[in-house]
């Protein structure tokens, strides 16, 4: 797993993306999380290799996606040639077989252990979209795909902005909710690659991220998780007006299952200890406690709030 300096990476991305596209890009994932909590510290490294950049709103995604991808490739960013679909597609290629837009910055050797790349994602078109969907982007180099996931609109809801760099990054609590909604239960599917030598269920990795965010929120000095509920409710209400009640009721079920299964919690802990919290010496019990607080405060309040409407 790579060690990168978040501030440097975000600066690189901010300077590389066409200025008129910055408003439409939100950095999400582990980089956004570390930037949110340690943005001003130069020395905090983060172990990640993919920098997820979500284009919003969906209506401008084709135009902005084309502009960003074209500009980056034209300025020396190179494609990551790994995965099932590597070659650019054409008009005959089905959307779900198009290669994703994953680009290394100029001068980075993909073989380098600290190499990182950006991946473009897009907000879903409608609240009714389920699962993973692909949007076609046509540029001079061929046809590419940008994936969208159902709850990306939650992750990118009212993001923070770093005024100096002009970059938007997702609020940690919104990424936490997106992950919780994505995993109402612990699914058996495992990640395609080993996580620091261990096979990990995708659900445990994503819900482990929720625990890591909770842990970092406590470290930041936030007294409790009650305020998350209002943020969550607002996002659910606006992003999923027809379903916010059901989603609110089920939001905590996967996390609850995770912290009550020692095997799954151990996997989640592994992903935190070798990922976002690698500098923290966090214990399993501390992560569980963060989960108990998120459920007992944010989730419970969210359910109560949603019942009022």
């Amino acid at each position: 797993m790579n060690n990168i300096i978040p501030k440097e990476v975000i600066k690189t991305v901010a300077e590389a993306v066409p200025p008129d596209c910055l408003e439409n890009l939100v950095i999400i994932g582990s980089l956004a999380t570390v930037f949110a909590y340690f943005g001003n510290k130069k020395s905090i490294p983060v172990k990640t290799k993919d920098i997820d950049c979500c284009i919003r709103p969906h209506g401008v995604a084709v135009e902005k996606g084309q502009a960003i991808a074209t500009h980056l490739i034209d300025t020396g960013w190179t494609r990551r040639l790994l995965g099932d679909h590597i070659e650019p597609g054409n008009s005959e290629t089905p959307e779900n077989e198009l290669p994703a837009i994953r680009l290394y910055p100029p001068g980075i050797n993909p073989e380098d252990e600290n190499a990182w790349f950006i991946e473009l994602l897009v907000e879903p078109e409608s609240s009714k979209d389920v699962g993973k969907n692909w949007m076609r982007i046509i540029i001079n180099h061929g046809h590419f795909g940008i994936p969208s996931f159902r709850y990306l609109s939650i992750a990118t809801y009212l993001p923070e902005k770093d005024e100096r760099l002009g970059v938007y990054y997702a609020r940690p609590q919104m990424m936490a909710l997106a992950n919780m909604l994505e995993h109402p239960e612990i699914k058996p599917e495992r990640m395609s690659t080993l996580f620091n030598g261990r096979e990990i269920k995708r659900s445990n990795k994503d819900l482990g991220r929720v625990l890591a965010i909770g842990y970092l929120e406590q470290e930041k000095g936030t007294p409790d998780f009650h305020s998350w509920a209002q943020d969550w409710f607002t996002a659910l209400y606006f992003c999923f007006p027809a379903e916010f009640n059901t989603l609110a009721n089920n939001a905590g079920s996967g996390l609850y299952k995770l912290i009550n299964s020692s095997e799954d919690l151990d996997e989640a802990h592994h992903t935190c200890a070798y990922g976002l919290l690698s500098s923290k010496s966090v214990t399993v019990d501390e992560l569980k406690e963060a989960g108990e607080r998120i459920i007992g405060e944010a989730v419970e309040d969210l359910i109560k709030l949603s019942q009022k409407y």
């Binding site: 409790d224 501390e286 406690e289 108990e292 607080r293 007992g296 405060e297």
Partner: protein
């Protein structure tokens, strides 16, 4: 709302008793139902009552059941196949957990829910009275008399001691006999301590752990005591007295105490589930201490009829003796001794 009648004998055959009745609503309450057969038999019993009472509705209340919502629903639907629709349509189910309604089957109105919560509260209280071991009458009465002495409130009639302590007249008389030498008796059957009873105080201190049965809670990443304090002050539905260092500072503002390593709270006649619910509402990450762990919050559950809290207009404080015992329990012997001297000195100067 009509008055709720508890443990009510119905005027039907076999002189059936029900847990509560309110107008045309009949209630049965079951605690900790783990076995589906108990749920089934409760439904059958309630249905058979409804056969004889055609204008009534039966509400079954399950408190802290281990049976899941879907499992209960499945059994409920099964049951509907065996009962006449006229009876089944008058059956309802309410599930409670941690003093809140978590599940409802049947069309339960807001008024009905309120009645269910009242009945639940009543039965929780009865359960506490039955199950909680009351401290020795001698120590409880001694505590009341010492508090009375600290406060300079003068003699107490024996009847009043019965009322404050919740013990019977014979139990109180017997306890008073044992401390006769320390007492000043008055003609109107009232008594007071002659002075601070040092010997009895040592006995009380030595027996403190068994008399008080404190419940300690801790977290890996503890929250600020000040945070807990403010949260408790914002809770209107829990009557809690601040003891320990906070209470001590109320009675003796000049005491040499810096920082608050643990929060001592006194509550009156709470069930274990109410204590747990309260603690979780302060911090869902808190758990009971295991041997060797230092608690961040300690709950002292007193069982007398009157909590004897002191209200300064903004918050409640545990009585002086609770604070003293809290300091001893926290190994703050020096400060406990200072507080005792202060309270005795204050009393002498009154």
């Amino acid at each position: 709302m009509e008055k709720i009648k508890y443990d009510y004998r119905l005027g039907i055959k076999q002189e059936t008793r029900v847990d509560a009745i309110c107008g045309q609503l009949i209630f049965e309450i079951k605690n900790n139902v783990k076995d589906i057969r108990l749920f089934q038999s409760s439904l059958i019993r309630l249905s058979s009552i409804l056969i004889d009472m055609p204008n009534h509705t039966g509400i079954l209340i399950l408190d802290e059941t281990k049976l899941s919502g879907p499992r209960l629903k499945e059994e409920w639907d099964n049951f509907s196949r065996f009962v006449k629709p006229d009876i089944f349509s008058r059956l309802k189910l309410v599930v409670l957990s941690k003093y809140e309604v978590t599940e409802k089957i049947g069309d339960i109105t807001k008024d009905e829910t309120d009645i269910v919560l009242d009945i639940h509260e009543k039965y929780s209280q009865i359960s506490i009275e039955k199950n909680v071991r009351k401290p020795d009458a001698f120590f409880e009465i001694l505590r009341i008399l010492i508090i009375q002495w600290f406060r300079g409130n003068g003699p107490l009639q024996v009847n009043k001691i019965c009322q404050l302590s919740g013990y019977s007249y014979p139990a109180v008389s017997s306890a008073l006999e044992k401390m006769e030498l320390q007492l000043r008796k008055h003609s109107n059957r009232s008594v007071e301590l002659k002075s601070f009873p040092q010997d009895l105080w040592f006995k009380l201190k030595a027996a403190s752990d068994n008399v008080r049965l404190p419940q300690g809670f801790w977290a890996n990443k503890p929250r600020d005591i000040e945070y807990f304090k403010n949260k408790i002050l914002n809770k209107t539905n829990f009557e809690v007295g601040f003891g320990g260092i906070i209470g001590t500072k109320h009675y003796f503002p000049g005491i040499d105490l810096l920082g608050i390593p643990r929060l001592d709270l006194t509550v009156q006649k709470w069930s274990n589930s109410k204590i747990e619910n309260f603690v979780k509402s302060l911090d869902p990450g808190l758990k009971k201490v295991q041997p060797g762990q230092l608690p961040q919050i300690v709950i002292h559950n007193i069982h007398r009829n009157e909590p004897l809290f002191v209200n300064d207009g903004s918050m409640l404080f545990a009585d002086e003796l609770e604070c003293l015992l809290d300091l001893h329990e926290s190994r703050l012997e020096q400060q406990a001794s200072e507080l005792l001297q202060f309270l005795m000195h204050k009393r002498k100067n009154e």
